[in-house]
Amino acid sequence: MGLLSKKDAKLITDPLFDDNPVTIQVLGICSALAITAELEASIVMAIAVLFVLGIGNVVISLMRNIIPSKIRIIVQLVVVAALVIIVDLVLKAFAYELSKTLSVFVGLIITNCIIMGRFEAFALANKPWQSFLDGIGNAAGYGLILIIVGFFRELLGAGTLLGFPVLGNPIPGELSGVYKYGYENNGFMLLAPMALITLGIIIWVQRSRNKALIEDH
């Protein structure tokens, strides 16, 4: 990578796989379970977090030398809440349809532990540029898992992807595609417990491919 030094590049690539915030650090699980019933919602959430974490990390990093350590968590919360509210207001004023799609996620973004986690663990001790890369990397790692989970849940649960029926028509009497051969959608995939199991399978696959990730107990 010509643009980034090796160390900077690692800030982006590490959280994608070997230090993934969801599967390795087990952060941000709540939103990963709540909104992954559809691929589209997963993608929207991934982009929203990318935006908030990228900017939030820079803001916190710029303020790192003036934030009193006793109330740093509160300061971080205020920064992320203010950022999210401003973004929400701007969208409501200039991109109303988009803001309607996002409305559910606003609360989930503020409470996403990955954001607080990166503010606390990285942005408070590093320069703005590195913090920005770290934010982008972690948000991308989070988004990647969300999109994988959303893909399987929507495909197996509803037989669609991004709303398009990819497996055929499941309505009795008009059966087509795989439904003709007796296949049925698994409605259970649309519920939160199956998101946890899907996530578990991802973690299993990841750790079986890289034994170094398995913790000693």
Partner: protein, 249 residues
């Protein structure tokens, strides 16, 4: 040596400063965008009302409102009358569609207040539509709808929306596969009593061919949102029954 930022006085000053700065930024942003946001909400209401009475650009299974530039013209063209029903009185008011249902609902709990019910009358290709805006509770937050009926309280079209139902489950009440099921459903039973339309998990009629059963097919995984829709229709649309009875006589 104690760092400057560890001092109590610094901490308190920082906190106060932060609250003032962030507070004023947010207040400024909120008041600066207020007019635009309200305007967007007004346009959205008009789009939804027109959608319910069939003035939309749906093609095949796609769902599409009329374009935003035309919505004002269409609204004045298709909506012929706006009524506010308060007890036995019916008054015309061209801002009836802007009535805050949430406020009316909480006001109706206080004594001596008779709830104001907005009802819009639209005409399209000779057909008359009676459109009632209603509001209820879903799983997480508010849900609302615009239901277009004919004079026999048979649903001619409906638009549902929600504030924060679960994405992929309850949030799907604003999708066509759910809303279109309501078209042709009766709100009254065979003997003319109000029955509402229940969101049913067991009606064994997924294609919704039986329009007289007062039931539409539920969304899997969205039981509570579905119950909320049933309850909203039952309690809110019932209030319009006296008006429709008067209409018949």
């Amino acid at each position: 040596m104690e760092k400057r930022t560890d001092k109590n006085s610094y901490t308190i000053l920082f906190a106060i400063g932060m609250v003032i700065i962030v507070g004023s930024i947010l207040a400024l942003a909120a008041s600066g965008f207020k007019d635009r946001i309200n305007e967007n909400k007004r346009i959205e209401k008009q789009l939804n009302i027109l959608y319910a009475m069939g003035v939309n650009e749906n093609e095949g299974s796609n769902m599409s409102f009329v374009s935003k530039d035309k919505v004002g013209d269409y609204f004045s063209k298709y909506i012929t009358k706006q009524l506010i029903i308060q007890g036995d009185n019916t008054t015309e008011d061209d801002k009836a569609y802007l009535i805050d249902l949430k406020k009316e609902h909480s006001l109706s709990k206080t004594a001596n207040h008779q709830r104001r019910l907005p009802l819009l009358i639209g005409e399209k290709e000779g057909e008359i539509f009676y459109i009632a805006p209603i509001r209820g509770k879903g799983l997480w937050d508010a849900i609302w709808a615009y239901v277009a009926m004919d004079k026999n309280m048979v649903v001619q079209g409906a638009f549902f929306d929600h504030k924060g139902e679960t994405a992929g489950l309850g949030a799907n009440i604003n999708q066509r596969f759910f809303m279109d099921d309501f078209i042709g459903e009766h709100l009254l039973d065979a003997s003319g009593n109000f029955k509402g339309i229940a969101i049913s998990k067991s009606n064994a009629d997924p294609k919704n061919t039986d329009k007289n059963d007062n039931e539409v097919d539920a969304i899997a995984g969205a039981t509570i949102t579905g119950n909320g829709v049933s309850a909203m229709i039952k309690s809110e649309l019932r209030l319009y029954l006296p008006y429709f009875k008067k209409l018949k006589n």
